[in-house]
Symmetry: D2
């Protein structure tokens, strides 16, 4: 049996001829500046060990991966009341679709599509100023990763704000159904800043490890969430974590994950460990193309699939 480090290198080697595949996100100028050739991967184990390959110390925009952390934070603040304002079902449509919001009276399908994450940001802000909520989310992620050196990329946040009409539409639409407390520009402020958090794969794998570890901080008995809540969050990652490619990801990879348009994916295998992968080129539904393939190889070479007998 190979070591984790050998496994990472095997995956890196197998995929290296294809580095640059996929289409880098271009809806905001800042994201399109990233080199498509980048590739990094990190695996964190419950014992605290972290293994890496590629540009694993280089920070990238985590974008929608932040939704996992903000959901966890919101559940900690208001508990299961979260589910009165956001659903738990796969959306069956694109990440920024507004159609289902109309059919379902302003209740987003799940917390991992944009509309759902905006509601979660509103829950965290709880009527206070955006800067407080942003600070709270950032501090939470730093705590999870045990790393103070995690920051918001200001130029990405500014770029999101300048090109955020679609998210503004989602926010105003939900406000029209009474499903938003903060004014829409303020809640978008929270949302855009959480998406603009920059992390490297090492930090991201560490930050997500509690979900693979029954809700416990790695190497301690301190709990971030209960074991049941950890299970529920990763269940949502499995069914809703990759937009309209969630079914395909579960089918091919079988490890709960959440992707971001920055090309990152955070995946967690309960009891086994957490994985962060980064490759900026996206597939047709907006998930990292090689990031998905890397996780498929991980699933093939290990027993980390949750569907493994």
């Amino acid at each position: 049996m190979q070591s984790i480090q050998e496994l990472l290198e095997r995956i890196h080697t197998e995929l290296s001829p294809r580095f640059g595949d996929g289409k880098v996100a271009s809806y905001i100028p800042e994201l399109s500046k990233v080199s498509p050739e980048k590739f990094a991967m990190a695996i964190a184990l419950p014992n605290g060990e972290v293994f890496t390959c590629g540009q694993s110390e280089e920070a990238f925009s985590i974008q929608s991966i932040s939704k996992v952390f903000s959901l966890t934070l919101a559940l900690g603040k208001v508990g299961e009341k979260v589910w009165a304002r956001v659903g738990k079902e796969p959306s069956g449509s694109a990440f920024n679709s507004i159609v289902q919001l109309e059919h379902e009276k302003g209740i987003p399908r799940n917390p991992f599509i944009n509309a759902g994450a905006i509601v979660i940001a509103d829950l965290i802000a709880n009527g206070h100023e955006p800067s407080e909520a942003i600070g709270e989310i950032l501090q939470f992620i730093r705590f999870l990763a045990s790393d103070e050196n995690i920051h918001i990329d200001k130029s990405v946040a500014a770029s999101e704000t300048a090109h955020g009409h679609r998210n503004a539409a989602l926010a105003e639409f939900m406000a029209s159904f009474g499903n938003l407390n903060l004014p829409s520009d303020k809640v978008r402020g929270v949302y855009f800043h959480q998406c603009a958090i920059a992390m490297n794969c090492r930090q991201l794998a560490k930050a997500g490890l509690f979900l693979a570890n029954g809700g416990r901080v790695p190497g301690s008995d301190n709990r971030v969430v209960t074991s049941q809540r950890a299970r529920r969050i990763i269940a949502l990652m499995l069914t809703c974590g990759h937009y309209d490619g969630s079914g395909e990801f579960a089918f091919r990879v079988g490890i709960p994950g959440k992707s971001g348009v920055g090309g990152g994916i955070l995946a967690v295998s309960p009891g086994k460990g957490s994985v962060a992968v980064w490759s900026p080129g996206l597939n047709s539904v907006g998930n990292s193309l090689l990031g998905t393939e890397a996780l498929e190889l991980l699933s093939k070479y290990t027993d980390w699939s949750i569907f493994y007998e």
Copy 2:
């Protein structure tokens, strides 16, 4: 630690005050005749042992649970080519919706909604007579359950045929996009008969055990499917097995399952075992109300959730 038998009796006792809850399916007269008070549960272990409680020897109409077996059969016949004609994504809508079929040019979202199962029936028939395909499906299920005493309920099949306009519409609609080989009435013949198969919980748990057992026939090294294929089938069960309640089921129960409007659910926990539960009253999205609760209790009292660390 309690035994499996004690676990079943505990669940039975906890739910017994609520027997009769939910709404029995009434879209075909035959189904509405079933007593809502029925409750049965069976658990099969990889070593071949089966434990039961309630009316576990009483047969009920498996309805959509048959889609798991027909998908397995179709994958065996044509392999991954199945996915050219049916998708792998949760539908985000009701089990018999025709809306998405129009947007997606006659390709059903997944094999577990009605439209998808009709395509699978067409694949199995492969242009031959309906009776052959029906016989093949029935034989396959008998083989999986090691039980020749499994039959098609003729009155249910006749009732489905007489009230099957919606499924006829789905079939004709797919035919208009060229996604059907058999004439629509013939393929519906296959589909209606597979839905009308009657099984009891003991038989159903045994028939589904190969999926919990890495694709192997319980107690032998003979394979029904490869381990990878078994994982993929149960991944689809998790993301798509409960219509528009699949996300909620994954969140609350965390065990891949497939429900039928007859009130049955087949669930499989990889490496642990398979469970069949039957309670005719349905919840608002068409899944067994107490069947879901029974599985939630099972998940609570054991480590069978695939999200368990």
Copy 3:
């Protein structure tokens, strides 16, 4: 002021360089065999005079234009009860869309989309054999045109039947909501045969003249329908007569009309007269390209627009 005959010749001359423009319908083989170069136009006046140009004695498949006559017949048979089973609103979508049928519980938006016309055919049949209803529709059109020499093109009817999966889907879908009395194959038999009626422009202009003439048979005081009913039928033609191009047609032409995929359009200007035009090439929403332009020129050179002051 020019004569009607001069007007027709002017339009014919202006459009002749473009004969062949547009795309001939190909969804059934029989229609695709028609030469795209054909062009004919006929105008009938309330005094009974008929003027023509082009191949005005050559019969073509009237297709959806038949819906005007079947609606008139159904209103005569059951009166305003028609509107319990079909709406009066423009559809905002393609002629054969099934999406709105799902949202509106099996009630088609209007009698001029396919689903609506199928309901009208069912109303005419009133539970009797298709052949009776077909005969009734044909006799009604012969009576309106004062011409026994109008027939059903059997090869077109056969071709429709063989390629009619989409219409079968619409029929089965409505049946699932209880909005159909005849079995779906029988009602489709009526519908396909009425669409396969072949007429030339002279016959068609004469058959539609009662609608321009306050409901009266031209040259007599005999009424086909009351003046109010004639107004209502042509109001529906204006708002719904050209599928999802109805708004554009009202904007550019301003004369109530009904198009068919055979390339024909019947238009009526109340108090002025009726026009039939035929040019097989269709525009992007399925209406005759040059037929529409011919009517736009007619509107430009006369005061036949109903929006004319």
Copy 4:
């Protein structure tokens, strides 16, 4: 034959037992304060005569009726280029639906639904300050009515702004597709103020008379628009003027009109005259209930229906 004045009084008398029927708009508090018992009607003839009944000197909020005037103004400014940014087809859905905007890439179906009118407001503003555009629209309406005593109801405008999330969503959504030049809050400023214009029936009938008069200012040869443009505007009123009740209105009334949620309707019969009616109670699709009935009676007692032979 009765005089116009007698006609108005006959309609007033027939409807008076039902004054108060329907449901007054309540989505903004200011509108809900209006007494449902109000009823007024005014008819203006091409010779400049105006006849009235009821509270015809009492101003009400014209709301969406303003869309007729803003469309006319925008056509005067940029001509047919308007149609690159807004369609001409009935929407087949509610006045504030966002669903079709997604399917049609940010191009509203027509200028009389909210999204379309917001684009028209953006065209009028042409990148300048909202106050200029608002002033221009107001001046245009005063000119058409020959009445300087027409004002914007500031409290209604403020109320619209405070409750305008749905319109904000529509604006942001179109901005995300590049179909808006002004920032969304500024264009909404224009839109909310034009909707808050208050007019009485006498003023409204006079302001709309040019559309019945081939585009000419009543009693002069000065043109507001060409005869062709007048015809095109009223064609749009017929097909799209009453939201998802446009087909029904054409069927029952047969006079091009535009309704507002303030309970007003402006209708124009080409060559005959213009009518303004006001009754605050709305029907299920958001059009004045008794206003529609009053116009149906007008159509019944006269030859003003455009479908009249």
